[in-house]
Symmetry: none
Subunit: 416 residues, 2 copies
């Protein structure tokens, strides 16, 4: 965090505007038939023209060989040390959902507040052995998602703890998430999952005195839930893991004095952006609406995050040609964004998702960076191989925000 | 500093000679009309030929996106960790000047000694409110430089503190610098500037017991100065900031056993070199005299620092063509230096100063490194884009001195 302090001390905001355009899962690998990657196959004349006047390179969200999740990927994208800041799994899950329930009813646009404590949960089964309830299946036989969803609704209608709001989010099969909101909750507590069967579930305990109230609330929750599940065939109790509060990180506005606007259709990305101090703009549900949201808000913000999810979604399904088409479909939209007149523009990703792998990968992320007076290179097109030889080099992703600030004159000189 | 200790432990001096040739503000950016940088435009056949047998790359004085001042830039150039060593502003100012006064008279070739305490000062105005003197203008209405210069001369003639030598340096408008020299002075004290008007100036206090004498001296100085200014219209007192001693760093001779000679025309660079253990050679006032100084001293030193200031000076004025001409004018001088027979030669800068920006910039510094048996690459010319693809890579500037030592057989193997 020392680095963020140094950067923050040098920050000197002006009226320049920066766009970070993120193709989620941008980078790919050669198709076995052609040897060409998704980006190499895409016909994207506008992006090509942009790249030809940019400095190109590749970014790494974490160390070489490490495949980042979306949390670490986005922390790096926005300049944060993702080795020091961890977004808890429970936190990420609730950020990722529009299906949060409170008192049995859906909550519109749930966001995590400071002081909230979030956890990932499993339904589990237990039975009495020698007078003690021990866990017999940590996943309750992986119930159908509809079954566990109905249980979550029932629990949401019935669990009550004085002075605490409880938000529940159904997940796949045995999984769910829970958020506790109330005075004096600090998420620094132990998990209740004993990790093996044949042992009792653990009582939640505070790791430090300030977390005592959170431990008490979690134990009350588990007790009530266990009582409410007493006559259920499928699940008799719950185990909680990854218990954590909203990460206590300085926001981008706090660090750099920037007004930050996020444009993303998917809840998790909207949530992460919100955590880091972006205003999350509009309710766009497709790329056209995303671009219109950008245009409508151009005057009001200094730094924009523009997120395209579909490149990642189709990559997870291995749909090579679909990914190519999404790059092509976004090409003219990108030009519409450029035409707004930004002073610095980055095209990048939060990680790679090669179609041949169908999952996130460890590969460096193709990146193009343009600004006024940019030392452009001769990379002709945004591709994995082209960017690997670009003069930006292969650099930590967390350096891109500082570079964009520097390139727009928003970082003072260090030392006399 | 751990890294310096490791390097120092491995150092094994021989009779090899190293030249670090610094073009201050070396790197540039594309001219808007041609797309070519200053270095790309310069006709420098001798430097080109040198580069063609060198390994090329780029160095970074600090993190990506961070623009280094001359202090951090030179610390990195000479292998020092500039995130851990800071040269105080007052120290840099006095190093930068040939106009230091003592007892009202100019001091020839002032250098900072160990134990000296230096500070940056402002003239200020104050008035009595409810029996207390409070600051009314922290810059004393920005007096004309001639006015403040005359006040500095008057103060230099009159302020006397037993056992302490006082050196004063006039600055622009309300600014000046002061150095206290005497037994037992430790510069670890608080500033006297309250930073806002309407408050009294602060009494200087020691941050640790050893600094008590320095605080006492500074308070006595401020009191005398305030008395001496009592009948002045323009300024009634002074505020001191950036109070610090000469940085307590191991010198290059101490670290590596090298005899180090510095050739620079400008006082600040002579001063920084002196701080780090270089003998500052001659009094050259132009490039020809610098080269003659190098030749005259070639036999006496192992590591030479050769500083060309003008590339930076004209860049600050945005004089693109002038910068090109300076590179061209230095081309044959550089060959004269090469002809002396050095065993390792680095051409680099302390930072970039692109003419299109007219100020220091964050860009990596084009660098060429030659030594016997060098793994030369195919970079044809010393340019920003060429060096970006050189096989030295884009590396921390502080690694260049260790590389030069290694390349001349002056670092032992680490571990068995």
């Amino acid at each position: 965090m020392k680095r963020l302090e140094t950067l923050s001390a040098l920050a000197h905001q002006n009226d320049k505007k920066i766009l970070i355009w993120v193709f989620d899962g941008i980078g790919g690998l050669p198709h076995p038939d052609t040897g060409k990657t998704e980006l190499e196959c895409a016909n994207t004349p506008n992006i090509d023209a942009f790249v030809q006047k940019s400095m190109t390179g590749r970014t790494m969200a974490f160390g070489r060989g490490i495949t980042p999740g979306s949390g670490p990927g986005h922390l790096a994208l926005f300049g944060y040390p993702n080795d020091q800041i961890v977004i808890g799994r429970g936190v990420l899950e609730v950020l990722g959902s529009s299906k949060v329930l409170k008192d049995g009813k859906p909550v519109e646009g749930f966001t995590l507040s400071k002081g909230d404590v979030a956890a990932r949960g499993n339904f589990a089964t237990e039975q009495i052995v020698d007078g003690t309830a021990v866990i017999t299946d940590r996943r309750a036989g992986k119930p159908a998602t509809e079954v566990s969803g109905a249980l979550i609704k029932m629990l949401s209608e019935n669990v009550k703890i004085d002075g605490v709001e409880i938000f529940l989010l159904p997940g796949k099969q045995h999984r769910f998430s829970v958020v506790f909101r109330g005075e004096g909750l600090v998420g620094d507590v132990i998990e209740t999952d004993p990790q093996v069967t044949g042992l009792p579930k653990l009582a939640c305990e505070a790791n430090r005195p300030e977390a005592a109230r959170a431990a008490e609330v979690i134990n009350a929750f588990v007790e009530q839930v266990t009582t409410l599940l007493a006559d259920q065939e499928q699940a008799r109790t719950v185990l909680l893991r990854g218990i954590a509060g909203r990460p206590d990180v300085p926001t981008l506005p706090e660090l750099y004095g920037l007004r930050c606007g996020a444009i993303a259709a998917y809840p998790m990305y909207r949530g992460i952006a919100n955590l880091l101090g972006f205003d999350v703009l509009g309710q766009p549900s497709n790329h056209r609406e995303e671009i219109e949201t950008l245009k409508a808000n151009y005057d009001k913000y200094d730094l924009f995050y523009f997120h395209i999810k579909e490149t990642d979604s189709v990559s997870h399904l291995g749909q090579f040609d679909e990914k190519v088409k999404i790059f092509e479909a976004c090409d003219s939209l990108f030009q519409e964004a450029l035409d707004l007149g930004f002073d610095a523009v980055i095209i990048t990703g939060d990680h790679c998702t090669p179609c041949v792998l169908k999952e996130h990968s460890w590969h460096p992320i193709p990146t193009a960076f343009w600004h006024k007076d940019c030392l452009f290179d001769d990379t002709p097109k945004l591709t994995e191989r082209g960017c690997a030889r670009g003069i930006l080099g292969t650099i930590p992703a967390r350096d891109m925000v500082p570079l964009a600030l520097a390139a727009t004159g928003q970082l003072l000189k260090y030392g006399a």
